[in-house]
Amino acid sequence: MRMYETFEHTADLGLRIRAADLDTLFAEAAECMFSTVVEDLRTVEAKQRLEVQLPGEERELLLFDWLNELLYRLDTEHLLFCRFEVHVDEQGLHGSAWGEPLDRERHALSHEVKAITYHGLRVEREGDLWLAEVIVDI
């Protein structure tokens, strides 16, 4: 079962993710974002790997920067990602993303994410789980 969903924001889309630990939370957040870009994430193959290293202490801002980095790759290199591994600690984030270049023959696209926003951005404990909410500008 997926631990993420989208929620309502008048003009755009909210991503809501829950996970047992921070690493999974960040990985699922990236998957959630790409599931709004591509109609069916299963059509994307894990052919190449991108390494991302980001400094930072504030969890919200780290999540922001992580998603932003992936978005930048999509926009400039037309790369779609489908699988993610992330490690978050006090110094920052180390993440890997696997995917392939966009191929319009195989990938049906649904949204262009213009930007990640700070609006309502949160990463926090919710009982036994971690919760993240991010609104993306469509």
Partner: protein, 487 residues
């Protein structure tokens, strides 16, 4: 963060205007004013947009009031459809959130000498060819690539850079807001990431609510103005709605990042992190302004290239050059921008920074900033509606200078969230429904089409009615879509 209704105060000023008094929240420097009739107000209260109007009133140096147009809806920090003017000499600030991610998102309208009767047999091939030739949607490179050095020229020179390369005419510049170029743009204030995102995106439509439509002049309300704009009933026109693409989004993103600590540094108290701002007279403020102007110039170039591509498609389909088809630009307006303009505030003339976030400049007759030919009529205002019903051409009125810093609405405004619209469209074929209404629509994304379905928007006619009655702008012509391409 769920969608909640607004329960704060709203006092009636007149039939078309409501006030949020500055006593509502300590920290508000001026009142909030929302232009809406009773019916639209009910919809507006459905989310937190009025709260955002109140929050904008906290900004240092804000003049007159925090203003909102009838098409407002919930945004980030600022509502979409908001107007705010600040005086730099009174500590006034510049706020990237008051411009938006899509810097200089805007609309242009191109007329032609074709009429509905000439094209009705050719609409499908025309729309198909537009869809083939004009890049739309995610990850689609444009036909035009600009190397870093060229891109920098483009960013400082705006549309004139393209005209110098034969991609448009001097007349195109004359009929573009600010002649398609804001002075003071500094390409060196634009980050490498933004430049990289812009490299292959000039001349691409993008997605979301952006579109290129073939439209028919459906009804003329003001013959004199329509004739000055070159419009007649049943005439075929092209409307283009797009902005600064990834380059502009990145400029906004970079600014939000750079300004994270500015409010603290300058002692500015804000009720919402997305309202981050810096004094106009500060290194941070000046840097953003220089980059924002460069992104605005990029957006004008983008719409210029989109128009050129549309002109070429028409020439191919109808076998005549675009000049023979008299595909002249009626006007190009921006609706996400901040500009330094002269206005009268409490009887005094002064220069203020007018932030228009989802709001359109609407200068009245006689204002020097418009083509000579329109001087007696007023500046054309182009209002995109939804893809099933209508769009509008208006003209600026004196009321806009008195009440809204020369500003009017920018569109229909969303009535449904994307999620709600998608749910609503489940099991339906929006393209077939549009076809039955006489609109051929082609989009890269079916989901996108569902989210942008006509029902997801307020009726643009109602919005336009309010700005017309409030004296902000005046109805010239209603446009009906017959062909749509989208991302």
């Amino acid at each position: 963060m769920a969608k909640e209704s607004y329960h704060g105060p709203l006092e009636r000023v007149d039939d078309c205007c409501w006030r949020i008094p500055k006593s509502y929240k300590p920290g508000m420097r001026v009142d909030g004013l929302i232009f809406a009739d009773d019916r639209l107000l009910e919809q507006i209260k459905g989310d937190q947009a009025p709260e955002q109007v109140a929050n904008v009133a906290f900004l240092p140096g804000i003049q007159h009031a925090s203003l909102a147009m009838p098409d407002i809806h919930w945004g980030y920090g600022f509502c979409i459809g908001g107007v705010c003017a600040t005086d730099p000499n009174e500590g006034g600030v510049i706020s990237p959130g008051g411009v938006g991610y899509d810097i200089n998102c805007g609309v242009r309208l191109v007329r032609s000498n074709l009429f509905y009767r000439d094209v009705k047999q050719h609409i499908r091939p025309l729309v198909e060819e537009l869809f083939r030739q004009v890049p739309t949607g995610v990850g689609k490179s444009g036909r035009y690539h600009f190397k870093a050095k060229e891109l920098k020229h483009l960013l400082s020179e705006g549309s004139s850079f393209l005209v110098g390369r034969g991609l448009g005419t001097a007349r195109d510049l004359e009929y573009t807001e600010a002649h398609g170029r804001l002075d003071g743009a500094d390409p060196d204030a634009v980050s490498d990431r933004a430049l990289k995102r812009g490299e292959d995106q000039c001349g691409t439509l993008g997605s979301g609510n952006h579109f290129l439509e073939v439209q028919i002049v459906d009804h003329v309300f003001d013959e004199t103005a329509a004739s000055a704009f070159g419009l007649e009933k049943d005439m075929v026109c092209v409307m283009i709605h797009s902005g600064s693409r990834g380059l502009g989004y990145q400029v906004c993103d970079d600014a939000l990042m750079a300004l994270r600590k500015a409010p603290e540094k300058y002692g500015i108290e804000l009720p919402d992190r997305q309202l981050v701002c810096a004094p106009v007279y500060s290194p941070e403020g000046e840097h953003y302004i220089a980059a924002m102007r460069a992104a605005a110039n990029f957006a004008w170039c983008n719409r210029q290239l989109l128009m050129q591509q549309a002109r070429e498609v028409f020439a191919t389909v109808f076998g005549r050059s675009w000049q023979e088809l008299q595909m002249n630009l009626v006007y190009d307006v921006c609706h996400n921008i901040a500009k330094f303009e002269e206005h009268t505030v409490s009887g005094k003339r002064k220069k203020v920074w007018v932030h228009r976030k989802g709001a359109t400049r609407a200068f009245p007759p006689g204002h020097p900033e418009m083509p000579q030919q329109y001087m007696k009529i007023g500046q054309p205002v182009i209002i995109p509606g939804d893809m099933g019903r209508a769009s509008w051409v208006l003209t600026g009125q004196l009321g806009s200078m008195e009440k809204t810093f020369g500003t009017t609405c920018h569109g229909a405004g969303r009535a449904m969230s994307r999620t709600a619209a998608l749910k609503d469209a489940a099991g339906r074929r929006i393209d077939k429904e549009l076809l039955s209404r006489g609109v051929i629509a082609m989009a890269q994304s079916h989901k996108g089409l569902a989210e942008e379905q006509p029902k997801a928007y307020k009726n643009v006619d109602d919005v336009v009615d309010v700005v017309h009655r409030a004296g902000l702008s005046h109805k010239v012509a209603r446009m009906r879509p017959i062909g749509v391409i989208k991302g």
